[in-house]
């Protein structure tokens, strides 16, 4: 039963709904974070082997796949840099318009 794949798919859909339907800037940032979490979960579920062991000094022959884990390590660090960049844009918008509501920011133009 492919439960982890379905769970990461559900998490991705929840993040996508959060981006589409909310009008506060920080809620959009939370939605992007949820989508990135779901991608990391999906990648690590792809490499799991039943009864496998940690890929550090492997004693036996059944080892969990180490290649997706290396890719996710890169992805986690880049995700933090992206989130901090988005938060800095939100802080700058707040300093300019004194509100983080996206509908109000559009009305205050000019």
């Amino acid at each position: 039963m492919n439960l982890p794949y379905l769970a990461s798919l559900a998490l991705f859909s929840i993040g996508l709904y959060c981006i589409l339907a909310k009008k506060d800037l920080f809620k959009v940032i939370y939605g992007i974070c949820l989508m990135e979490f779901s991608v990391n979960l999906f990648l690590i579920s792809l490499g799991f082997v039943h009864g496998g062991e940690v890929p550090i000094r492997p004693a036996g022959a059944v080892v969990v796949d180490p290649l997706p884990q290396a890719m996710i390590l890169t992805a986690i660090v880049i995700e933090f840099a992206t989130t901090v960049l988005l938060i800095s844009v939100a802080i700058r918008l707040f300093k300019q318009y004194d509100d983080t509501d996206m509908s109000k920011i559009r009305r205050l133009r000019g």
Binding site: V54, I56, R57, L73, V77, F80, A81, I87, S88, I91
Partner: protein, 138 residues
């Protein structure tokens, strides 16, 4: 921040730094590695910022030290790659001895781990300074 938080952070910050250096140096025999050590070092700087304020943190770990750490980390990484190319192997190949005596030496991986650990630690501390560093000198 209250006296309890300041006292406890003053005691904890050196231990977090030592743990970060241990993670970097034994990354090739234990779970850990370069990125875990780097982000833990920046976590120590974040704890210092939360407990003592931005000006005290900038006095000890100033902008110039952070910039120098970043630049030296990246330069070290690229220099190791170019040296490997000059010695005949591919870019960033492994040219240092791998097994020496009682312990594994892992070739060029230790040097690269040190470079990336210093780089990532200074990088994320600098991110915190740019985001929230209103006071203090530039």
């Amino acid at each position: 921040m209250s006296l309890i938080i300041k006292t406890i952070s003053r005691m904890l910050i050196p231990f977090i730094f030592v743990y970060a250096i241990w993670l970097i140096l034994t990354g090739h025999t234990s779970p850990g590695g370069a990125f875990a050590g780097g982000v833990t070092a920046s976590l120590a700087v974040a704890l210092a910022y939360a407990s003592f304020g931005i000006s005290s943190t900038k006095e000890r770990f100033s902008y110039s030290i952070a910039h120098m750490g970043r630049i030296l980390g990246l330069l070290g990484f690229i220099v190791m790659g170019v040296i490997a190319m000059l010695l005949g192997k591919s870019f960033l190949g492994n040219f240092l001895p791998k097994f020496g005596g009682h312990f594994t030496m892992a070739g060029v991986i230790i040097v690269l781990s040190l470079c990336i650990g210093i780089l990532v630690g200074c990088e994320f501390s600098l991110l915190l300074y740019y985001l929230f560093g209103g006071g203090g000198k530039e």
